[in-house]
């Protein structure tokens, strides 16, 4: 470890592992360390189940009804991948997808008046949905047809709407859509967490709805994907990529000091030894004095012995509770997966509720979601700070990732990765840069 590296990475969360992989593939000499004895940091999947109990200080061992502890891989942060999303693109370009197996999430649901409904996203589904009355359905159908035909490069598809000027609110008005339909369109299809988008130009919203439909079209049941054995497989896969291209991995390494000289990082001290570097990437937990808190997220991991009611016994699903429905500013999300994904013992389900904290009593805020899940066998509650770097790192060459936010997808994570890449290299992120630079597959394919 007494060596000079181009880049030292601290923490093996998804953001750090993807960046580590990109740097190694591009010929940088990388040392990647984690203070924990496991990969993944905050984006780890905890196994065995005993470790989850210990982590949340639940007294006693898991009861026998929980099955074998080793069969569990419980995510700390709930997320799905959008089938047509950026993370999927990164997995394909790096070929890390070779190490992983996925399943399509079985359903996407939205909450209305205390009940949940399947999210209709095609004309046929919209017509069959009990979410809307008959006339509303006709209008919604017209809206979906408009969105499907919309092409921001072809003014003939605009039909009097100016994508860069007309507010989304006006578009809804034009199609005469009611409040409930607006709620699920904005929150369950365009996947906005708040209503701020209503007064923005409509182009982005329309494209988001198109993205949802295109992702949905890819595999059918829903636009979301989930990797077998849990999200913790993702950082491990990118760490392997980094190692193949020469990255050195050390886990269980306590980090004593980040050494800065004249305002610029020059190395990292661990167990009395110093490894020198030109640049440093780390998650906020390694540099508490260089980050600030911008909010809080509450996440509640719930273990169930039954599928969620009214989801057609889906073995995996997502439920979005639009803020309007429960008098909030931001949506509440439920992500559910189960033994079908090798993350829980046979017959068990893991539902994770999450949202941005808005009050002093965050556990009260998520009650509508918990009510959908009852009976809950075991709950694990966490409230975590959202931390962001205080500066861009241009001077110190210390590049700090942002904590994972309340979104249940990887969009913001991928944006952070692209942004850090740009700050580190001075050039715009390009997926092409992630491609493996030499053949490392031998034998027949």
């Amino acid at each position: 470890m007494n060596e000079e590296y181009d880049v030292i990475v601290l923490g093996t969360g998804l953001t750090e592992c993807i960046l580590s992989g990109i740097m190694s593939v591009n010929g940088k000499k990388v040392l990647h360390m984690d203070r924990n004895p496991y990969y993944g940091g905050e984006s780890a999947s905890i196994t065995p189940l005993d470790d989850l109990y210990k982590r949340f200080k639940i007294p006693g061992a898991p009861p026998a009804s929980m099955g074998r502890g080793r069969d569990w891989n419980v995510d700390l942060i709930p997320k799905f991948l959008m089938a047509n999303g950026q993370l999927v693109k990164m997995l394909l370009y790096t070929e890390v997808t070779r190490y992983l197996d996925f399943k399509v999430t079985e359903g996407s649901f939205v909450y209305k008046g205390g009940k949940i409904y399947k999210v209709p996203s095609t004309e046929a589904e919209a017509l069959a949905s009990s979410l809307m009355g008959l006339f509303e359905k006709r209008r919604f159908r017209k809206f979906l047809v408009y969105v499907a035909n919309f092409d921001e490069k072809d003014p003939r598809t605009f039909e009097g709407i100016d994508p860069k000027k007309t507010a989304m609110r006006e578009v809804y008005k034009k199609f005469d859509l009611g409040q409930d339909v607006i709620d699920f369109t904005g929150h369950a299809l365009a996947l906005y967490r708040t209503d701020d988008y209503l007064d923005q130009p409509c182009c982005e919203t329309i494209n988001r709805i198109k993205l949802y439909s295109e992702s949905l079209a890819r595999y059918g049941k829903s636009p979301y994907l989930y990797p077998l054995y849990g999200l913790g497989e993702l950082p491990q896969g990118f760490a392997r990529l980094s190692a193949i291209y020469g990255g050195t991995y050390m886990l269980n390494k306590p980090i004593e000091e980040i050494i800065v000289q004249n305002g610029k990082v020059i190395g990292v001290k661990s167990e009395g030894e110093v490894a020198r570097c030109k640049q440093l990437i780390c998650d906020p937990s390694y540099v508490k004095d260089r980050v600030e808190k911008v909010g809080q997220v509450i996440r509640v991991i719930c273990i169930l012995s039954h599928p969620i009611k009214n989801t057609n016994d889906a073995n995996s699903c997502q439920i979005i509770i639009p803020q309007n429905q429960v008098n909030r500013k931001s949506d509440i999300y439920v992500c559910m997966i189960s033994s079908a994904h090798n993350v829980a013992a046979q017959g068990k389900y893991i539902a994770i509720v999450s949202t941005t904290v808005e009050t002093k009593e965050p556990e009260k805020e998520i009650r509508p979601a918990l009510e959908l899940l009852e009976p809950i066998e075991q709950k694990f509650v966490s409230i975590s700070d959202l931390l962001v770097p205080k500066d861009l790192g241009t001077e110190s060459q210390i590049f700090i990732s942002r904590t994972y936010d309340a979104t249940t997808h990887f969009e913001t994570t991928c944006d952070d990765i692209k942004d850090i890449y740009k700050r580190m290299t001075g050039s715009e992120f390009d997926f092409e840069e992630m491609k493996r630079k030499k053949n490392d597959i031998y034998g027949e394919d």
Partner: protein, 210 residues
């Protein structure tokens, strides 16, 4: 003929010849200057076994097995940390594991037991274990007796062979033995629907944003 994909992972200390064994098996050649890390990360070879085709998907450690010093948090001692940088993903779904030691280095045989322990902890329950005593072309400097290794392998019901990646001794035999030990396809049908690999769409639509 039925084709079965079998994942095989390699374990053992750095320098015992893991990468060389795979290279010999897949490419039938030996490179004395094989790069310790960069090289082949994923190698495949299909062989016929009885009325099945076995496609071995072989995972090399990518150097993540390299030892480093580290303080154990519980015992507060500095020790050679050999294992944990190998991710659980590495063992996931393996049908077999080949644990390699170097017959000219006693120490690589002593750590074998730790690799076996590591595998029991993190590997799939029914994994076929094979032990390979590599570099058997170097008998003049042998430090590990074949008998001792064989006895140990027997005690844990593992396959055992002495190999030489350099002189192509027992490499194919090692894999044939693995084929023989792997339960037949109908003995354990895949449970509960497997996942799929992501593939690129025939034409990736280019999205421009406003």
């Amino acid at each position: 003929m039925a084709l079965r994909e079998l994942k095989v992972c390699l374990l053992g200390d750095t320098g015992v010849g893991k990468s060389s064994i795979v290279w010999r098996f897949v490419e039938d050649s030996f490179d004395p200057n094989i790069n310790p890390t960069i090289g082949a990360s994923f190698m495949t070879k299909t062989v016929q076994y009885q009325n099945e085709l076995h496609k071995f998907l072989i995972w090399d450690t990518a150097g993540q097995e390299r030892p480093y010093f580290c303080t154990d948090k519980e015992e507060q001692i500095l020790y050679h940390y050999r294992f944990r940088a190998l991710a659980p993903m590495y063992y996931r779904g393996s049908a077999a594991a080949i644990i390699v030691y170097d017959i000219t280095k006693e120490e690589t045989f002593s750590t074998l037991k730790n690799w076996v322990k590591e595998l029991r902890q993190h590997g799939p329950p029914n994994i076929v274990v094979a032990i390979a005593g590599n570099k058997c072309d170097l008998i003049d400097v042998r430090e590990v007796m074949e008998r001792d290794a064989k006895d140990y392998a027997d005690s844990i019901h593992a396959i055992f062979v002495e190999t030489s990646a350099k002189n192509a001794i027992n490499i194919n035999e090692l894999f044939i033995e693995i084929s023989r030990r792997i339960p037949s396809a109908d003995a354990n049908p895949p449970s509960g629907g497997k996942g799929f690999k992501l593939r690129r769409q025939p034409s990736e639509p280019q999205r421009s944003c406003c």
